[in-house]
């Protein structure tokens, strides 16, 4: 499941383990520099290139995972 892998990355980069798939990135204390690290992790760990604009438009684990499943080619 992409959402599980995305959630694991968010937990690591935001330094918390209580994140649900519907929590808002910014409400969790996120900011653009952390977003950039997550963007890098998506490339390295999921093989998915996600533009920052899409990360801003999809600020939850559920929505960004759905975006990745639809738009960004995943490499296993």
């Amino acid at each position: 499941m992409t959402a599980d892998r995305v959630r694991a990355i968010w937990c690591r980069e935001l330094h918390r383990d209580d994140i649900t798939v519907d929590d808002d990135f910014f409400a969790l204390g996120g900011q653009s520099v952390i977003m950039m690290r997550i963007q890098g992790a998506f490339i390295e760990e999921l093989g998915a290139e996600v533009p920052m604009d899409q990360m801003f438009l999809n600020p939850t684990v559920a929505s960004i995972a759905a975006y990745i499943d639809t738009h960004a080619a995943l490499t296993p």
């Binding site: 330094h15 900011q31 653009s32 520099v33 952390i34 950039m36 963007q39 890098g40 490339i43 290139e49 533009p51 920052m52 604009d53 801003f56």
Partner: protein
């Protein structure tokens, strides 16, 4: 002390878009803008901008008008900017990446705004302004019927070209207006001093509302080169790096914080597109040179790194320094160098008298870049623009509020804000000095220090450190800091944080850090209440 920049004659009418029009005549087929897989030539861009200028003039928004632009980076944005200038008007950038509440605040601050150019994606953000909002696409038929020739408008170097909001760290943002002469002088200096030419293709990576973005947008068109724009509303290191790799881009202008992010991206993922640029011009905040040291020393780094200083009120850049000359062992901090052409840096005391050589003073700027002041501000803000007597002649200058000195090599060194100095136990301290000392410690990736007043009204320094590896212990930091700082300058509290919060402009968000201190203070108080104390 005074540093005098080289005096270089400007044309009788130093008007920025006239230089662009010279390139239109000389190289009409050269590529002016590349965006989202599309491109326009100088001739096509000129024709579109001329038509938009005719439209503004026909609606009564000619010379002296102020035109708001709320667009994402696009060819239309460049058309709107050039068309506004050609009509004799000045543009005011409204950054669509700003939160709606901030945009509403800014919109209310522009006196006599003529209209706002927006797109379907941005129109809703500016509808609160109470002025007409227009969309270039919707006006396509009207525009096509207007002449493609340069409108006959007599613009002078004293006319306004743009006005940008200063960060407003002290509260309400202020709208700093810039004159054509200052902007022309800035780009003429960059072109001649650094040899920028028709091949000095540029990529814009900064937010539209930032003063340096106006320079980043116009400099390639001033030099006859190609402007590359990203189809992205938010800064995107991945896309930026891809653009640098895929296109023949030679120059970047950015805030220092943005440069760190780009450097980190290339360092983590390989490649040399950033390292092999001709120039990166950066500044806008105290430099954390440790963030660039490794990159600057890589053998493949052939790029010239220009560390610059300036203020929006004086057309963006006032001084420039080639970072290759910086020796961390010899210099305390990286200088910001020598003045732009036709620009002088004065170091003055509180009575506006020059300080002695090597002494600290307030950095004041005079010369071609001094702007027209704040728009819509009749009050004390404009007092920072003042006139002094210089050898019998009146000289207009701007007091930046920044503190600095001239080093032995005749380079300006910025040491923080005049008002950033706080009295801690009777000693005047600039938190930036402490920040730098912390930043030099092994194991510290980045540091920020803010002064907050405790319940007794006394200032305390709070340090935030981003560890490069494992969490840093307070005692260890204290011990090591004491080797370089007097005891009075030691922060009373150290906090490890994963990263330093940044403002929308990419600068260290000191207000957010101060808030964090207050929250921590409250936590400590409640801990004390539930503790063992009676």
């Amino acid at each position: 002390m005074i540093l005098v920049g080289e005096q270089v004659a400007l044309p009788p009418s130093p008007v920025v878009h006239r230089r662009f029009e010279e390139h239109v005549r000389a190289t009409p087929d050269a590529v002016a803008v590349v965006w989202s897989g599309r491109q326009v030539s100088y001739a096509v861009l000129d024709a579109r901008a001329n038509r938009f200028a005719h439209l503004l003039i026909a609606r009564g928004h000619g010379r002296g008008a102020k035109v708001g632009i709320c667009l994402d980076y696009s060819i239309d944005m460049i058309v709107a900017i050039l068309g506004t200038l050609k009509a004799g008007a000045a543009y005011v950038p409204f950054d669509p990446a700003y939160p709606p509440a901030r945009l509403r605040l800014l919109l209310g601050q522009v006196p006599d705004l003529a209209l706002i150019v927006a797109s379907p994606a941005t129109a809703a953000m500016v509808e609160s302004a109470g002025v007409e909002v227009i969309d270039l696409d919707q006006l396509a038929d009207q525009l096509a019927a207007l002449p493609a020739t340069v409108p006959d408008v007599r613009t002078t170097g004293d006319d306004l070209c743009y006005a940008v909001f200063t960060s407003g760290s002290t509260g309400t943002p202020k709208l700093a207006a810039v004159r054509h002469e200052g902007w022309f002088n800035l780009m003429n200096w960059l072109q001649l001093e650094y040899g920028l030419h028709h091949g000095s293709h540029n990529l814009v990576v900064s937010a539209f509302g930032f003063d340096l973005s106006q320079r980043a947008l116009m400099t390639p068109l001033f030099c006859g080169a190609t402007q590359h724009l990203m189809a992205s509303r938010n800064f995107d290191a991945m896309l930026a790096h891809r653009m640098l790799t895929e296109h023949d881009i030679r120059v970047l202008h950015c805030a220092s914080s943005t440069l760190y992010l780009l450097v980190d991206w290339e360092t983590a993922r390989g490649g040399d597109a950033l390292a092999r640029l001709d120039f990166i011009l950066f500044g806008g905040e105290a430099l954390k040179s440790e963030r660039l040291t490794h990159f600057a020393r890589r053998p493949e780094t052939t790029c010239t790194l220009l560390h610059q200083y300036g203020v929006a009120e004086c057309t963006d850049v006032a001084t420039s320094y080639d970072l290759a000359r910086y020796r961390p062992g010899e210099h305390d901090v990286a200088p910001v160098g020598r003045p732009a052409y036709n620009t002088s840096i004065h170091l003055l005391d509180a009575d506006l008298r020059e300080v002695e050589a090597g002494q600290y003073g307030e950095i004041c700027i005079s010369g071609a870049g001094v702007g027209a002041g704040y728009l819509g501000a009749g009050g004390p803000e404009n007092a920072k623009f003042t006139t002094i007597d210089s050898a019998g002649t009146p000289l207009r200058l701007y007091r930046t509020g920044d503190r600095g000195r001239i080093d032995d090599n005749g380079e300006l060194v910025v040491a923080g804000r005049m008002d950033a100095q706080v009295k801690v136990r009777g000693m005047r301290i600039d938190p930036v000095d402490v920040e730098r000392a912390l930043g030099r410690l092994t194991g510290v990736r980045e540091a920020a220090v803010v002064a907050v007043h405790n319940d007794d009204g006394e200032a305390e320094l709070n340090a935030f450190v981003v560890p490069s590896d494992t969490e840093l212990a307070e005692d260890d930091l204290r011990t090591r800091l004491l080797r370089t700082l007097p005891r009075n300058m030691l922060p009373s509290r150290f906090t490890n944080i994963p990263r330093i919060p940044l403002s929308p402009h990419g600068k260290v968000d000191r207000a957010a850090l101060a808030d964090l201190c207050r929250v921590q203070g409250a936590d400590n108080d409640s801990a004390a209440l539930t503790g063992t104390r009676p």
